[in-house]
Amino acid sequence: MRKVYLDHSATTPVHPEVLEAMLPYYKEKFGNPSSIHEYGKVAKVALEEAREKVAKLFNCSPYEIYFTSGGTESDNLAIKGVAFANKKKGKHIIISSVEHHAVLESCKFLKKEGYEITYLPVDQYGFVDPFDLKKNIKDDTILVSIMHVNNETGTIQPIEELVRIAKEKGVYFHTDAVQSAGKIPIDVGKLPVDLASISAHKIYGPKGVGAIYIRKGTRIIPLSHGGHHERSRRAGTENIPGIVGLGEAVEMVLKDMDKHNKHLKNLTETFFKKLKETVKDIQLNGHPEKRIPSTLNISFKGVEGESIILSLDMKGVAVASGSACTSGSLEPSHVLSAMRIEPAVAQSSIRFSFGRENVIDDVDYTLSVLPEIIERLRSMSPIYAQSKK
């Protein structure tokens, strides 16, 4: 059976070149960068080289890059680290209602600690209205966190204006850039965020490693205490092979971003066009144009998402559900709900996220099995039959 992986927003395979670059740091170059001897020096050089590579992603100084265990840790550090460090100034934080759980849950935790959280609404595309941000910033607001590209829909949030507003009021701005890194440029000169989170395994690097950009001068305190690693902002012996992998992955995605975006755009556009021709009553969630080229979130009316995932999986095609049924929680996706998509439609959504190793045959294969699956499930659906009557 053919296998087609269309869940790159969840994770990507490690690129062979990335893996190749990492391997020596598990073997002969295994040293601890804190050690003074030769082994330590070799590891230290690798660590700083990787830092320089990651800095290129943000066009920032390498000293503004800190390595973490991934996107979740970076988000936690950004939110809680800034909140704790600035509590004398205030305890008010503003986020959007379509944030990743790492941001949402960090804020929920802070709320219990006496912080005040404002959730900005979004429109049907998932966009925050700059006016809402402006209106909600108060004297005690210390941080705004709004994600760059939404993980469920792939929609690009126009954060330029939002960043400008926060800056004007002297409020720190963090963005979760896990889904945008390597797909759209994030130049902190032009887009002056104060903090940004990224993860390696979404860009063909290894799992368990990520980074955070922290603008020089930002008041933040560490969440893990110990040695003086990462200039005392993140204690713990550095995951050198992982960090090397992250550096390599960043370098790789930056090098051929345009080429790959074109490739991805072709795949997703072809897929969606042909899908519309073969399956009726479908709807694209998120903005039709302001999106990263790899991701499509599509609702198949009358059919529940998980049953589509299971059926596709049996045919070798791996996709994800926009609804949360699969992630353990059962309420429909908070992102789609915030976009005021009806619960039954939100529950019918599937996220197809393509990657660089996908080819046009993958599109054709998926389209050769999908219409039948939808038809079968619709024939069992009490709400599809009803909507047809």
Binding site: L310, P332, P343, Q347, Y384
Partner: protein, 126 residues
């Protein structure tokens, strides 16, 4: 999370899908937890469920439990059918993942509602 082979089997080849024309009882339930919906139709003769069909908008577990419950109740007396609980259904499927246990409510509730509906209709016809 992974489903038992039985769940997958029933999901892939669900029994008794569809609607019954002129049913003797219909039970429709929506799951308040996740919004999934199931509709169950029964045909009753001499206090026996002689035919049963379902339609479900729901996850893999919801479809599998729907299918399983139709197998469990077919040709049973109403009294026997009323005793079928969500646990009966889940056990018959060799269990469900923990976060999917609520899915078996759907089928059991739809069945009980269909029987209730049948009784109500009978009363009003009498």
């Amino acid at each position: 999370m992974s489903y038992s082979d039985k769940v997958i089997e029933h999901f892939t080849n669900p029994r008794n899908v569809g609607e019954i024309e002129n049913p003797d009882g219909v039970g429709e339930v929506g799951n308040p937890v996740c919004g999934d919906i199931m509709k169950l139709f029964i045909k009753v003769e001499n206090d026996h469920i002689v035919d049963v069909k379902f339609k479900t908008f729901g996850c893999g577990a919801a479809i599998a439990t729907s299918s399983m419950i139709t197998e469990l109740v077919k040709n049973k007396t109403l009294e026997e059918a009323e005793k079928i609980s969500r646990k009966t259904v889940a056990d018959a499927l060799d269990g469900l993942p923990k976060n999917k246990l609520h899915c078996s409510n759907l089928a059991a509730d739809a069945l009980h509602k269909a029987i209730e509906d049948y009784k109500k209709r009978k009363k009003s016809n009498a």
